[in-house]
């Protein structure tokens, strides 16, 4: 028989061993050689803190009392893990994206970083988990008492033992969990120690099981026979409990603070979850495999009245297997310690982040800008929280007397934490969930749990009087803790589960539907629900009045000087700023907030940044984007479409401009070519004739005169050409000034006919019917006359009819006057018509006397006068129509 002293020594050696492992793991982690620490195997094993001393000892006791019912506690989590794709995948992604530090942090972040909600969840978690911690104390104490001398096992020594166990656990947790402040950086040492403990408890239970099946029963076949012939050999199941407990364990698996800690906070790689999806159910199955055989053998070989919760220890002891019993004790010890460490760590993080830190910050006059290192405060708060929580557990153990069956205490705790589930799942799957809905659901569910499950657990007349059990509060029969609303005959645990979860959900959904969320809440809601669509944070801070120095001071106090400096320097480098102070851009503020959230929780981090920056801005754009992503996409594509339409419009315009420029360039080249040709021809003849005059001595006077007059004629032609060019250029540039004058149109035409015919007599007959329209008009009469003269001389030059004739008609067109110059020459060919108004275009120019500028000048003049000149082919010749605008005609009336 092993003495208690030996047991304590073994335990101390074991603890020292764990410390060493944790220490080396953290050393390796610091050196960056933490690959094996972050393997899927370690992740899966760390999940095994679900299996506490309740599993290790309690499952066998549970099986001895209720048969297979114990297994429901492991079926629920197995289903959740196998169905990881449905809930856990999203939970882990959100937890990592939001850097959630705890269940309270997650819920508070989802509902607009509400600290009120975080406080409520924290308090509920503390109250809900305390019985569970008491359970661990009880199981360790009980297991020690088995080994102790029967003479010494009086009440005093047992309570003393519990006290020392509690102290040991507290010291263990403080040393392990709060060596440094990095909830977000994860506890490498703790995780590896838990993984080792997971292996120890599995091996211990398997060893006892194998010893029982093959050592005592003699194989699988005989074992099954012994099971069937035992007191629990028949399938005897409360069906409602089977269903309700499976659902409850699944819910608790998701909502337990310590499970959230190892599953989400300590998760390093989402792919580990996929491996754990089969590995963790395997672990649970192995843990449950020998529970029934151990219970059956225990019932069989141990004297009646033995505590079935300790069969795992007492069966090996009864068979004289001291070593196996010690291993089994270490397994139970591992289960208890790992659970207490992680649970109190998770709870202390919640308490310090959501209760102590906000209070401490608000008591500081300068708020977040106070100098000094906040990390000491945080660590102190966490250590105090750990001690407080373990003290609460001890208190609960003393108050409840430690007599209740382990399983019953565990279930009470499960129902308590399951109250988080509606707010949690509702928050990550339903955007309509609001802060008030979550608060209402939590408070209602918690109240029902306290009344129906927690208080009755102390027994009648302990907290609730027996009359309340029988007659309800103040005699109201529908308020009985185990028969709410008069529904009797339900198993008390199922009763508590059904009513608390149902009323919780009703309150959560109902209040969520009637209330309206705040902007930040809606934003966070959208980010949680659509975490796979956009993991990035969309919310921004206002253009920051905070200076980088302030932020630096604050970050140093929370992250520590080195880490903060590294963070700021990296950001400054990213921004391309020299020095170590980056610009406080929106992106940087968000990154900083997330970084701080990892240490002090999102609500506190948000509050601290707000103090410096002056409030987060949820811009209209943000809300629009959240309100309707499809609208956003539509808007974006509309904008793209508009942009592309604009681009193609611009491209078309550019193309047109380019074509015009090319055409103009061609025109300019042609013009230059033409003009040099036009100038060269008279110049050539002037030069040749002047050379003849200079070099030939014996020239007749008549010849001299002839040559000189040729030179004179050419000079006149040249002058005319230059005049025309000058005229045209003045007209084209719009520099011409009009000399407005009032006169009679017929007079102008008459003068023009005279001028054209005055120079030299031609064969052309001009018929001008003066009887037509006779109107005065105000315009530049000289210019108009120039146009008419041009047209008449053109007719004189080009009309090739045997009896050339030009008829000039004036017509009133209502919107203006038309002067038609109609000759009887050969009609201009259709392909040449478009060119006749261009410069230097000459059609069948027989004598080459024209420069081809006349019609171009006419067109320019008419454009200046607000009119127009067009050519109309007629069957018997050509008609040039001069349109005079009505303004010119009416102005004179």
């Amino acid at each position: 028989m092993i003495s208690v002293n030996q047991l304590v020594a073994v335990s101390l050696v074991y603890v020292a061993f764990l410390f060493a492992i944790a220490f080396f793991a953290e050393r390796a982690s610091v050196r960056g050689r933490s690959g094996w620490l972050r393997s899927p195997l370690v992740y899966t094993l760390s999940l095994s803190i679900y299996c506490t001393a309740w599993t290790f000892y309690g499952a066998v006791g549970y099986a001895a009392r209720s048969g297979m019912e114990f297994v429901t506690i492991y079926l629920g989590p197995s289903l959740v893990m196998i169905g990881w794709w449905w809930v856990l995948r999203k939970l882990v992604r959100i937890g990592r994206a939001q850097r959630a530090t705890s269940v309270a942090d997650l819920i508070s972040a989802r509902y607009g970083k509400s600290n009120l909600l975080a406080i409520v969840v924290t308090l509920m978690a503390v109250v809900g988990v305390t019985p569970y911690i008491a359970l661990q104390l009880q199981s360790v104490t009980l297991s020690v008492s088995i080994f102790s001398d029967p003479v010494q096992t009086d009440g005093l020594s047992q309570s003393t033992a519990t006290f020392w166990v509690a102290c040991g656990l507290a010291i263990f947790t403080v040393l392990f969990g709060t060596r440094n402040l990095n909830a977000n950086e994860r506890h490498d040492g703790v995780v590896i120690a838990i993984a080792v403990e997971a292996v120890v408890k599995l091996i211990a239970l398997l060893a006892v099981g194998i010893f029982v099946v093959w050592g005592i029963a003699g194989g699988i076949g005989p074992m099954l026979e012994r099971i069937d012939s035992s007191p629990i050999g028949e399938w005897s199941m409360d069906r409602s409990r089977w269903v309700a407990l499976t659902a409850l364990s699944a819910a608790a698996f998701l909502a337990l603070p310590r499970m959230f800690q190892v599953m989400v906070v300590e998760n390093d790689d989402e792919r580990h979850l996929q491996i754990a999806s089969w590995a963790f159910p395997l672990y649970l199955m192995l843990m449950s495999l020998f529970v029934v055989p151990i219970a059956v053998i225990g019932l069989d070989i141990l004297p009646p009245g033995s505590n079935p919760d300790l069969f795992v220890l007492t069966v090996p002891l009864a068979e004289g297997q001291g070593g196996l019993a010690t291993l089994s004790f270490l397994g139970g010890f591992s289960s208890a310690t790992s659970m207490v460490i992680v649970a109190t760590l998770a709870l202390s993080t919640m308490v310090s982040n959501h209760i102590v830190m906000p209070i401490w910050l608000s008591t500081q006059a300068e708020g977040a800008q106070v100098s000094g290192d906040v990390r000491n405060v945080v660590i102190l708060a966490r250590r105090a929280s750990i001690l407080l929580i373990i003290f609460f557990g001890y208190l609960y153990y003393r108050l409840s007397g430690g007599g209740a069956a382990l399983a019953a205490i565990g279930l009470i705790s499960f129902v308590g934490v399951a109250q988080f589930l509606p707010a949690m799942l509702g928050g990550i799957f339903w955007r309509g969930a609001t802060r008030w809905g979550a608060l209402a659901g939590l408070v209602v569910g918690f109240t029902v749990w306290v009344f129906c499950s927690l208080l009755p657990s102390f027994g009648p007349d302990a907290v609730l009087s027996a009359s309340v059990f029988d007659n309800g509060i103040a005699g109201m029969g529908w308020l009985r803790p185990q028969a709410l609303f008069g529904v009797e005959g339900i198993d008390p645990t199922v009763h508590a589960i059904v009513w608390s979860i149902t009323l919780n959900m009703v309150a959560f959904l109902g209040v969520s539907i009637v209330t309206f969320p705040q902007p930040l809440e809606r934003l966070q809601g959208a980010q949680f629900v659509n975490v796979f669509d956009h993991s990035a944070q969309a919310r921004g801070w206002d253009a920051a009045p905070a200076t980088s120095e302030d932020l630096m001071v604050m970050a140093q106090r929370i992250l520590g000087p080195d880490d903060a400096l590294a963070l700021f320097r990296a950001e400054a480098q990213r921004q391309g700023v020299t020095g170590h102070l980056p610009e406080p851009t929106q992106g940087f503020l968000q990154a900083l907030e997330r970084e701080l959230a990892g240490s002090v929780g999102s609500a506190t981090a948000h509050a601290m940044i707000s103090q410096l920056v002056g409030g987060a801005s949820v811009s209209v754009e943000d809300l629009m984007a959240v309100a309707d992503e499809s609208a956003q996409i539509l808007e974006y594509s509309n904008r793209l479409e508009a942009k592309s339409a604009e681009l193609s419009r611009t491209a078309r315009k550019l193309r047109e401009a380019n074509e015009k420029l090319t055409a103009l360039s061609v025109q300019k080249d042609a013009f230059l070519g033409q003009i040099s040709h036009e100038l060269r021809t008279p110049m050539t003849s002037i030069r040749s004739f002047s050379e003849i005059l200079r070099d030939t001595d014996e020239l007749e006077q008549s010849e001299k005169t002839k040559y000189a007059s040729i030179i004179h004629g050419e000079t006149i032609r040249l002058t005319r050409l230059l005049d025309d060019l000058l005229d045209l250029s003045v007209l084209e540039n719009g520099q011409v000034s009009l000399n407005l004058d009032t006169g009679n149109l017929n007079d102008v035409i008459g003068q023009a006919v005279l001028s054209a015919g005055g120079d030299r007599s031609t064969r052309l007959t001009v018929r001008h019917e003066q009887a037509g329209v006779d109107r005065p008009l105000t315009t530049d009469l000289d210019r108009l006359r120039q146009v008419f003269i041009n047209l008449i001389t053109n007719a004189q030059k080009y009309c090739d009819a045997p009896e050339p004739e030009l008829r000039i008609d004036v017509m009133d067109r209502g919107d203006g006057l038309q002067v038609v110059f109609h000759d009887n020459g050969t009609p201009i060919p259709s392909e040449a018509r478009s060119l006749i108004f261009e410069k230097f275009s000459r059609i069948n120019d027989k004598d080459g006397s024209g420069a081809g500028l006349g019609l171009a000048i006419c067109r320019e003049i008419m454009a200046r006068l607000g009119g127009d000149i067009t050519h109309e082919p007629r069957a018997d010749g050509n008609a040039f129509v001069v349109h005079l605008p009505v303004r010119a005609a009416l102005a004179a009336q």
Binding site: M68, V80, W235, W278
Partner: protein, 98 residues
């Protein structure tokens, strides 16, 4: 959101089709497990009274529950193995009607 995506294809390549069906199986597995584990509710119960049919023996119940457990674990293992072997496939646009 993907409803607006004009890139959705009606049919997928064979390998990514397989991957999608494996994902379907993965989603279905916990439901199958739940149904199988709820099945004992229909077993005759020793508490039903003397007239009830003979209840299932404890050894049978233990075998059934652990058998289901083993099958679920093996299925999950096979799905994980199959999916991680096909990792990186099926990145083309989602099927229509999803």
């Amino acid at each position: 959101m993907t409803d607006h995506n004009t890139n959705t294809t009606l049919f997928l390549e064979r390998r990514s089709y397989r991957r999608r069906r494996l994902m379907d199986a993965l989603r279905l597995l916990p439901i199958v497990g739940l149904l199988l584990w709820l099945f004992p509710v229909f077993w005759p119960n020793a508490k039903d009274g003397p007239d009830a049919p003979a209840s299932v023996s404890m050894s049978g119940a233990v075998t059934y529950v652990f058998l289901v457990w083993g099958v679920l674990i093996l299925s999950a293992l096979a799905l994980w193995w199959g999916l991680s072997k096909r990792a990186g496939e099926g990145t083309e646009p989602p099927e229509q009607g999803r």
